[in-house]
Amino acid sequence: MIEGASGGASELDSVASIAPPDGDYIFFREPVSPATAAAEALLIDVDGWEGPLDLLLDLARRQKVDLRQISILDLTNQYLGFIESATSLKLELAADYLVMAAWLAYLKSALLLPGDPEVEPSPEELALRLQLRLQRLAAMREAAARLLSRDRLGRDVFAHGQGEGLRLLTKTRHDCSLFDLLTAYGRVKRRSEPVVHMVKSRRVMTLEDALARLSYMLGTALDWTDLRSFLPEGAPADLTRSATASTFLALLELARQGQVELAQEEAFAPLKVRRAR
């Protein structure tokens, strides 16, 4: 591990002194001066990386090969070497760097040991996944650089400085027909007109009529008789309602006078009546 670390460091040393490729300047760390010890320089610049993937990509770039041809084992060695030297300098590393280190150490051992076909996913697949992620990050980095170097409005090209501005004023015309107007007036009148309620005269049976009628009819009803059989037969509905109310009141009056007896088996059951004995 120590050897791997120093090997990685020496390679870093040689690469760190070269200038970054054109256009990538703002994305990658400033080149480290050759006089500075590489490992130390890396540690000093640890804030310059945005997480382990970023550091891995930077290390991968130092292999100076196409990312598709990167040696994941070499990359793993470099990364572990960096972590090792950071630890030896007693620098605190963020947890995600250590997690990546543990994962890479596992990947490295898996790649070096004879493959177990039962293990899923295979180490090759894990390595390939890492490689694909690095490629994607690198592609977006490069795209960002190319995007930012375009002729940008307000920096390289300029819009009219004294535009007067366009004003599109929309004027609303309202439409209303005579019919709309009259309908509206009709609506208002309907709303404001006092409403007259007309109550039509209805045929009723007065309490007096009911008393007279009941007194007469009770003479024939010696046994329990349903109240309804005292109502006039074939009368219209409104007269029947009135007659029912009047007859009921008349019965109560007669019961009060002790002339009749009332019985009802349960609530809403037919009201029965018979002459008092």
Binding site: F158, A159, H160, G161, Q162, E164, G165, L166, R167, L168, L169, T170, K171, T172, R173, H174, D175, C176, S177, L178, D180, L181, L182, T183, A184, Y185, G186, R187, V188, K189, R190, R191, S192, E193, P194, V196, M198
Partner: protein, 217 residues
């Protein structure tokens, strides 16, 4: 623009004037573009180039700037018209003003039975159908409103007397309460009873509305 390759100084002056936040003097331009450049010649060339186009290069007190050709000023403040149906509140308000004018807002509200917003009357005034017609000499001296000749023109009326009277409205079914219509159809004696009770039937045509509504109120 012209087919030939534009002069570099002309291009530079054109771009500088275009991007500038305020009009530039020849000295400003020389400081920006170069002391040796023939700024005056470039300005003249540009002025000639742009003459007659939608944009012109103009000099005001020794300072130069591009501006829209004066005859196209209408473009910068363009009005378009859109037609919208008059709202129910506005239509009712207009109808009340037409039948009862002159009326104050409080009176309109009393008739409508609903509040009338200032905006509603504003819309009617904007359309030129309604106008303030003095103040009512009562406490608070409220503004009163009346219809305009424009109102008559829009609705094809010769005078306010052309407005149908309340009997016409009733005959047209416009006064039939919608929710009672069914009941009216079922009760055969309904119409007879009503006509007998109708206090309006005896009053005269066009002004009857006003008087009747006053009576009822």
């Amino acid at each position: 623009m012209s087919g030939q390759e534009p002069d570099p100084v002309v291009r530079a002056v054109e771009a500088a004037l275009f991007a500038a936040l305020e009009p530039q003097s020849a000295e400003d331009l020389a400081a920006q573009i170069g002391k040796d450049a023939d700024i005056a010649a470039a300005l003249e060339a540009l002025r000639a180039d742009y003459a007659g186009r939608g944009v012109e290069l103009v000099e005001r007190g020794g300072r130069w700037h591009f501006q829209t050709a004066p005859d196209l000023a209408w473009l910068l403040r363009r009005e378009t018209e859109q037609t919208r149906k008059l709202s129910r509140a506005a239509t009712e308000t207009l109808a009340i003003i037409a039948y009862h004018e002159p009326v104050s807002r409080a009176e309109i509200e009393a008739i409508r039975g609903v509040q009338v917003s200032k905006g509603t009357i504003d819309v009617l005034m904007e359309e030129g159908w309604v106008t303030p017609a003095g103040r009512r000499e009562v406490p608070g001296r409220p503004l009163i409103y009346a219809t305009t000749p424009g109102f008559l023109t829009h609705f094809g009326l010769t005078s306010r007397r052309d407005l149908p009277g309340i009997e016409d409205l009733r005959a047209a079914g416009l006064l039939d309460p919608v929710d009672l219509a069914l009941e009216g159809a079922l009760a055969t004696d309904q119409s007879g009873a009503e006509s007998g009770n109708d206090p309006d039937s005896s009053s005269d045509e066009s002004d009857s509305l006003l008087e009747n509504s006053d009576d009822q109120a």
